[in-house]
């Protein structure tokens, strides 16, 4: 399980929004919901075992950045947002993890079963939805 060495950072408020990039390949049409949404496979830990990367919206805003800045260099990508409170309700935790090229970077750690991934995917809200698709 990725992230057993991490402790949930309580200074990150439940209201915080976490942004994650979604490449076009990972967007599907959910006929049950009647909407395009990211697939569950978009909410996974990294191949090297480190926890799922996100950007904290409030931290980005503090740096005077807009959501678009997260997609720079990633043409065609979309951006979704998940609430920290929802992440915690799935027994996952959040920890700050600033990187040289992304000061607002954070990690979502904990066991992401298929069921958890699907819940994350269904709860994700579009921040920037790159649309070049026609609904089926």
């Amino acid at each position: 399980m990725a992230g057993s060495e991490y402790v949930d950072d309580q200074s990150i408020l439940d209201e915080e929004e976490l942004w994650r990039r979604v490449p076009p390949r990972l967007i599907i049409f959910d006929n049950n919901l009647g909407v395009y949404r990211p697939t569950s496979s978009a909410f996974v830990d990294s191949p090297d075992g480190s926890p799922m990367s996100v950007v904290m919206a409030s931290e980005a805003e503090k740096l005077n950045r807009t959501a678009d800045s997260v997609l720079i260099g990633h043409e065609g990508y979309s951006l979704v947002s998940i609430k920290v409170s929802f992440v915690r309700s799935l027994n996952l935790g959040v920890v700050r993890n600033p990187l040289p090229n992304e000061q607002a970077h954070a990690l979502v750690f904990g066991n992401k079963t298929k069921s958890v991934q699907r819940k994350l995917a269904k709860s994700a809200i579009w921040v920037i939805h790159y649309q070049d698709q026609t609904p089926p």
């Binding site: 390949r25 599907i28 006929n31 569950s40 496979s41 990294s46 191949p47």
Partner: protein
């Protein structure tokens, strides 16, 4: 009779056998064209296109999709889809796998192929509130039953 003449006939014999390890030829590839799901060829083309994804295709260090997983996905679709099976979505996964998924008829069905012998399945009947997860290796009996639920009118 010389050994070499015998070898010749042996070679012909093995070219049609089930064995892949004898020292002669493997079984010839055969084409199956009798699946009647109208969307199959389009979905197969999508799956094959995954093979051109480069490392870091998701911007989060994803590895390229492995050919054996694409192949397994195609085999599963050929085997489990009928004319009445709705078209699935197919997506690559960041560990080189492939996911086949349906979200219709109040059913969510996701089949994640990690390798040809490691397949995770997640099924949810949204009306009945039933959710099940399966970790499959070589016994895929459950898949036919789950996919057939999507095919029912």
């Amino acid at each position: 009779m010389t050994s070499s003449t015998l070898e010749h006939s042996q070679s012909q014999f093995l070219s049609e056998s089930e064995s892949w390890s004898t020292s002669t030829l493997p079984e010839s590839a055969r084409l199956v064209r009798d699946s009647s799901a109208h969307w199959l060829s389009e979905v197969v083309a999508e799956l094959v296109a995954f093979l051109s994804l480069k490392p870091n295709w998701d911007s989060y260090e994803a590895i390229p999709v492995r050919i054996e997983n694409v192949k397994t996905a195609i085999e599963l679709l050929f085997n489990f889809s009928a004319a009445s099976t709705p078209r699935p979505s197919v997506v690559p996964t960041n560990l080189g796998g492939v996911q086949i998924e349906w979200h219709q008829k109040a059913i969510d069905l996701e089949i994640e192929i990690h390798s040809p012998v490691a397949i995770d399945v997640c099924f949810e009947d949204l009306e009945k509130g039933v959710e099940r997860e399966y970790e499959l290796r070589s016994d895929l009996h459950i898949l036919e039953d789950l996919v057939s639920k999507l095919s029912q009118q």
